[in-house]
Structures are given as C-alpha cells and as structure tokens.
Symmetry: C2
Subunit: 219 residues, 2 copies
C-alpha cells in the first residue's frame, strides 16, 4: 500500500498510527502542501484524489481511498488486530462520536485551506489566524474532555486511553490534535485527563513512529 | 427512541432520513437553536450532550448518541434493512469517504456557531457570511461531483443514487446540503448529476418526510 502523506498533516498522522498499530507495510509518499504552490494540486495527485487533500491510501489493486476516518475504518475492517472499535453497536457509536468530534468539529476549521482563505479574503494577519486556530481547538478539546467526563461508566470512560485500556479510533484522532495544541502553545492545564491519555499513547511505538518529527519529509 | 432535532439542522435531517428508511418509530423533540439564546445550551440539553450540538439520539435505556454519522452507522449496524453501506470493505470506505467529504469538509465550516463567530469576531455582515457559506458549499459540492465522476466503475458511480441504484449513507449526507444550496441560491447548473440524485431521493417517502418543511417545529 502507498500512503500519500505530509509530515504535519493531522489527518495523515491519524492514518500513520493506524497502519503502525496494524503492523502493515506501506510505502510513504510525501506530498508537500506548501512547496510548488502545493503538490496536492499537481496533475498526478489530482488523478488520485480530485479533492486535493491528504491523506490518500492507494491499495494493491491501484484503487485509492480518501478521508482519514474512512481509511481507518477500512483498515480496521480488513485487518482485525488490534481492533480500533469496540464490539457493541453502542460502544462503536461512542468511539465514532469522539472521533468525529475532532474530525468534524475541530480539524476542518483549522485546516490549511481555511486559514489561507481567512487570510486572503478577510485580510487576517497571522496573529488573527492563530487566534482563530486556538479558539476552535481549545473549545473542541474542552468539549471532548466533557464528553469523557460525562460518559456512562460502561462506556469505559476511565482507563489509560480514551476508551478504557485499549487504544481506539478516538485516540488516533485525539493525539494529532494535541500535537497541534502544543505547537500553538495552548494552555492544557485544565485538561489533565487528555494529557494523561497522550502520555500513554506516545509511550507506544506505533504512535511514536507516526509522529510528524519521525517522518522522512519532516523539516 | 428520542431524536433531539431542529427542522433546519442538516445533521438532524440526515438522521431523520436514516430513521425513516429503517422504518423506526421515534419521538421527535425539537431544540430551537435560536430561541432563548439557543435551547441547545439549556441545562437539560447539556446533560444529554455537553457539546451542545444537534442531533442527539436517546436510546431506550437512556444512553445518548451524538454526531450524526456515528448515529447513522449505529442505526445501520442495529437495524440491517435497508443497508446504508455496501458489503465490501472497499465499497464501505468509498461511501464513508463521500459522506465525510460533506460531513467534514463542507458542513462544519458553515455551521451556525461558525457563522456567529465570524460575525462577532471578524465583524462580518450577513452578506460576507453568505459569501463564506456559498464558497465552501460550492467548492465541496464540486469536489463531491468530481469524486463521483472519477470513481472506478465497480464502485457504482453510475445509477440513480450516489452509489448505484441503492440509497447509501452518501445520499443521506448529500441531500441536506443540496437543501442548503437551494436556500442560498447556489447555481447548481454545472452539477446536473447531483440534481438528478436529489430528484430520485426526494421521490422517496423517507426523504420527503425528513425534509425541514415537514417537521413539526418548521416555521
């Protein structure tokens, strides 16, 4: 399999963690989001993903999967160990809702193309963009924490990871956002539970190896 | 089951279609997003969903599911007919990626809270907000159309619906966004395939009954 990736792309980071957890071999193909006007707009990449976004996973037969959460679910359905979703339908909905809180309600607002659009259109400077970025990230992470706190006990809201003592898709979405939070110097002292989860995740080789700094295209 | 809904919420609209397709009985509980400072911020609703967002589905045992795509997958796993995802892992990834293109890359940018933040913070007037709204919606729908056009034939990119001749989760995400597109008077003449899919979907009772105008809280 070939993963089209960029070292700092949160969405690609999620999929790298999944591939590592499943112990799958893959070829990493860096797509630089800034150089040459953005390599995701190249003719080659357009044929792979007309949405010009990362990541994309090319399968052995040449077909291309896009959207990080869809790719993670594909990997989970195709390679069962370790499972990234619980067994019960309710538990699966719970994990998916945590993942989507980040994948839908934080990440899309802080994406490169949105920041760029804000700059071009609203004439925002980089300080204003950082303010925007921090606003949605802080709000989203607080909401994520509130969800964990308020969850029914049988949804394993306690434990080393987001959902009990097993890594789930929720952790795959959370960790890259915490990386962003550190990069933007967010004050996370009011969210100790999230920092604990981060510590447990980053002690695992699969997470460590997927981190931006470990990528061949890291600057 | 109880569905917390608002007539014009695109995310609630998706779940209403799913509930109707699965022919499930549910009690609809309107939450007015504008009245009384937004009923989603009430103490009662906070206990159900600390993220203060719609929809929320309360199950028979009292537990609450949030995030529309997670709810739809829960309904699909719990009530198999008609299936909203294909059988193969690749096909499922394809449908999920179409759904997420809308659920992640269009909808979150045009959400009420984002428009409100733009107004308060960037001092945008309603014309500027409409410009922002149309920009992401037009871009996203064009990308969606490009995905359908470019899809491998065995992913059923032809047919009455997004994926062949069966309704899938992709249609459940597309239709509410087309409703928004009409409301904001977007020119969709360059996207005839999407309009055809809309026509086929809206001829089905499950879609028709889920539409905003059919809701008891419609104004």
């Amino acid at each position: 399999m070939k993963l089209y990736s960029y070292w700092r792309s949160s969405a690609a980071y999620r999929v790298r963690i999944a591939l590592n957890l499943k112990q799958l071999d893959y070829q990493l193909l860096p797509v630089h989001l800034l150089n040459n006007g953005g390599e995701q707009f190249s003719e080659h990449y357009h044929r792979l993903n007309p949405q010009h976004r990362l990541p994309a996973l090319q399968l052995h037969d040449g077909r291309v999967l896009t959207q990080s959460m869809a790719i993670i679910e594909y990997l989970d359905e195709s390679y069962s160990k370790p499972p990234l979703l619980p067994e019960s339908a309710e538990g699966r909905a719970w994990v998916r809702s945590l993942a989507q809180l980040i994948g839908c309600d934080i990440h899309p607002l802080n994406n490169l193309r949105v920041l760029r659009y804000l700059s071009d259109w609203g004439e925002h400077d980089s300080d204003q963009n950082a303010h925007w970025y921090r606003h949605w990230l802080q709000l989203g992470l607080s909401e994520f924490d509130a969800m964990l706190t308020q969850a029914p006990q049988d949804w394993c809201s306690k434990g080393r990871f987001c959902v009990g003592d097993s890594v789930s898709m929720a952790d795959l979405l959370l960790i890259p956002q915490l990386y962003n939070a550190h990069r933007y110097e967010l004050d996370l002292s009011s969210l100790p539970r999230l920092l604990e989860i981060e510590q447990h995740c980053m002690s695992l080789e699969a997470f460590h190896q997927a981190a931006p700094e470990q990528q061949p295209d890291a600057v």
